[in-house]
Assembly symmetry: C2
Homo-oligomer: 372 residues x 2
């Protein structure tokens, strides 16, 4: 942390996005962003938001800049919610320290965030972004993990899962004030051999945003309640157990089943919500083909058509060779994978009806945030 | 019924296919074809199988001919199951009449069936075909409705719903021998204003057959049980009530929700089953657009991409005009609709990315079978 003068605190952090293995879908409190069910996730080490937060002890306008562009805060209320909560926590601590001190210390925040992947690619960048803001403010105000977690969550629900490395369990909690709704690092040691292969598929369809989608599913799906009460708790335990015992096949089966069930409850909504497109389905078929002898890969899809395929490190080249049979991958992306993994891929024979992937990213998982 | 000589009984009937409004998906007994849940349906008057059954009192080979082609009975065991059951019923009756009569009367069957729509179009023709065989045998052997229903069902489960006009409720029953598993005509008077618009969309994908699909869903979906126990019973009542009170909007809402839920439990299966394609989804979007002000149409999809849209008779022209904005319809099909409804459709302005429908059929619903 550097202090540019008495009234300015500045911290820079780098925080990865995360992928849920058991999905979060549905809020029980829209304001506090309290989920209807637990979820569990891994971070994607290579997709990060590097974020600098300056807290300036003078009245002023809060500003947020992402990849060089100013964010219009009046239409993105979540930033203000986070800043307000940060100031509340600071005031609270000061009150604890000195009951007589002036309560009206005024501050404003400047946030500068850079993601190392295109925000427009449709990869959920807000989770990494809000987690980074929360982590930087945690450093500035010396908050505990629970406070920082809340800060991330009220910015963007699943952001709270990006605050740790390893397997992270976001517990829905029971309390109305959200005080027991926190993401925690599970006791399992990180499994560094887990890699993900992210495929970005373009899509011109008008997307149902995840907040709107969650609301619609909660209000109209007759299957969601059963998922939440009976299916998710068991799957959380299955993921923990498979991860702890390094049982890739069991882990992969739960991941795929839960991705499909998340999309099933979307389809069970009125009107039905559809995030998977033809490319997503082709990818599902390729994974099934790859898994024919033995389950070695698991697909998972969030609220969009882009695929995340989880494999063990030594299966990455074989899986990419399977991809190349049916999917056209940008050559620069392929080249960087070849360099990194020290393998080479043959030019594939022509596919009958290849599909186009606009970006391929290969990354280890579970690394967690870092401070600079 | 005509008798060509003493040993031959011949009956010809015409039976329509049916569309489930609350879907049948999952068997509790594969041999007797007993379903896991009730379903409810309407017949499609214009899509019929005209079938002649000859029961010949001499040993011989059973034969089945559909649209001029001989069916290979060794790979279509269901026909033999139906013939065996018919002979069992006949023997049973003869025994009741005369305990001393020879039990070994031997017969064989000749079936000639013609559908008035292409079997290859992907419209479920087996329901109409087996219902027609069952109805013809009912006439020949003077069976009661329950016996005839069983005969249709063991041929092709949903065939038992084609045995009546009006709103037909196939009750799953509780007994192991299937004796209380019957389709019955509900008490509501037929609603002749209900029309359906069937759109056939081509699809080159390898389809998961419905028997295999049902098995997979029953064995792997964690949502199916909830659907069966809690959702379907309520929806059956909702359909009955809406149909009885001629409440089209309520009826349409249940129909669409149940079609979507059926496809949701397919997606929740391992590996996931997908029947809807891009064309199906475009049709869903068109129906949503058409329903924006008021719910006037309901889509429903069986185990394939073809759509069935249920509308009231006076809304047929308006709905077809909506279709024409985005869907290319064969001109001869459009012309026959124009002639029948005495309307004319303008040549639509060019759509950006029209989809192709290979067959359009407009038909009243609920008419039921007929004898000739």
């Amino acid at each position: 942390m550097s202090h540019n003068g008495a009234g300015v605190s500045e911290v820079t952090v780098r925080v990865p996005m995360n992928i849920a293995l058991v999905k979060y879908w549905g809020k029980r409190d829209e304001q506090l962003i309290l989920p209807l069910n637990d979820s569990i996730s891994l971070t994607v080490d290579k997709l990060t938001a590097e974020t600098t937060v300056r807290m300036i002890q003078v009245v002023g306008e809060n500003t947020v800049e992402i990849n060089g562009r100013r964010v219009e805060l009046s239409s993105n209320k979540r930033y203000q919610t986070v800043f307000d909560e940060a100031l509340r926590l600071q005031r609270k601590r000061k009150e604890d320290l000195n009951k007589n001190e002036n309560k009206c210390i005024t501050h404003h925040f400047e946030v500068i965030s850079k993601t190392n992947f295109p925000v427009a690619a449709g990869l959920a960048s807000s989770a990494a972004g809000f987690a980074a803001i929360a982590r930087a403010i945690q450093k500035i105000l010396n908050l505990n993990d629970t406070q920082a977690n809340r800060l991330a969550r009220i910015g963007s629900g699943s952001a709270c899962r990006s605050m740790f490395g390893g397997l992270v369990h976001w517990k829905k909690g029971e309390k109305e004030d959200g005080s027991d709704c926190v993401a925690v690092k599970t006791e399992s040691e990180n499994w560094p051999d887990l890699y993900c292969i992210i495929l970005v598929f373009n899509d011109e369809r008008k997307k149902v945003g995840s907040s709107e989608g969650m609301r619609r599913t909660r209000e109209t799906s007759t299957l969601l309640k059963h998922r939440i009460e009976y299916v998710v708790p068991e799957r959380i335990e299955q993921v923990k157990k498979a991860y702890e015992s390094r049982n890739f096949q069991d882990l992969a089966r739960v991941i795929m089943a839960d991705s499909n069930q998340f999309h099933a409850v979307c389809l069970d909504s009125i009107p039905p919500i559809r995030y998977l497109n033809e490319s997503s389905w082709r990818l599902i078929e390729l994974v099934e083909k790859f898994n024919q002898q033995e389950v070695k890969a698991a697909y998972t899809f969030d609220a969009g058509p882009n695929a995340c395929v989880i494999v063990q490190k030594y299966d990455v080249p074989a899986f990419i060779r399977t991809l190349l049979q049916d999917i056209i991958i940008p050559s620069e992306d392929l080249k960087s994978v070849e360099e990194e993994l020290k393998v080479s891929f043959d030019c594939p024979s022509e596919s009958n009806s290849p599909i186009l992937c606009s970006k391929l990213i290969v990354s280890p998982m579970g690394g967690g945030p870092a401070d600079s």
